[in-house]
Symmetry: C2
């Protein structure tokens, strides 16, 4: 038995973006309880030369939106998250979840062998099969930015546990 690409892709949407919504709600509740400045929290970084929380969240979403579009042959659009409050980010993530749900599973499952040219940094293009694009590029990148967002929130005292990161495993 094998795994369908659509199962991997839509699984990230239903599991990890649901986890992200829960995490954003907890960050909102924590900021309200402690009186923390939400904008300042969204600007927090692991270290000076890494990107802030807002960027980590935006990039994890963009990877799915752009990656999904690329896989099914649509023009990859960017994701702009200008919201400076967690409670306003939540409906944006839900909107993106709804948009991703529409990605056609039948098309996703036919791109395993197709070759994609992926921009990977300045002046670098890498050629990957659809399978490799999902497994070797999309997954590690997506989880990296989501984990870093979680780590920043933990660093700033938001009470989260690994269960929050994992999201709904059994649904």
């Amino acid at each position: 038995m094998t795994i369908k690409i659509s199962e991997v892709f839509h699984g990230l949407n239903t599991q990890q973006l649901t986890a992200l919504i829960n995490i954003l709600n907890k960050a909102d509740a924590h900021a309200k309880e402690t009186g923390a400045d939400q904008g300042e929290l969204l600007d927090a970084r692991i270290t000076e030369d890494m990107h802030p929380l807002s960027w980590q969240i935006q990039t994890s979403l963009e990877l799915l939106v752009r990656g999904g579009a690329r896989l099914v042959g649509l023009e990859p659009g960017s994701v702009s998250l200008e919201e400076r409050e967690f409670s306003k980010l939540v409906p944006r993530v839900k909107e993106i979840q709804a948009q991703l749900t529409k990605m056609d599973s039948n098309v996703l499952d036919q791109i395993g062998d197709k070759i994609f040219e992926i921009p990977a940094g300045p002046d670098t293009i890498i050629s990957l099969s659809g399978n490799d694009y999902v497994l070797k590029f999309l997954l590690p990148n997506f989880y990296f930015h989501l984990s870093t967002a979680y780590d920043i929130l933990r660093m700033r005292g938001v009470p989260l546990s690994k269960r929050d990161f994992l999201g709904p495993i059994t649904t």
Copy 2:
């Protein structure tokens, strides 16, 4: 076209553990250059109530070793990393890589439908198919601990880039 579980599993080994070895070598070089105490670096955490770097590394390896054993029907053993120097951790990771390479792809590819009982925290057992175990449990957990290890090293000034995290995408 679909993805084989063995492709996912062995891909983590060849891509992400190779990335980890490179990251440990860079941490070693940085500590030697700056005179940083390697033991103290291995004890560093994102925040007081999160696990230290040494634990994040150990857990990411243990997830593959125990997860792989569970999938192919062997008794899951634990991974103990007592080494307090990066240059001594590197051969341990290589040893684990060699061990994981031996996991039988044919067996791995036959467990998609099999139900696994996974301990997930105190008094919690979750039942997952082999596919779901890999996609919904092993992957997010593994990437979480590896990303957090990377974040701790960045937080402590080790010069790393996202390329280091991603490892050899095209091989």
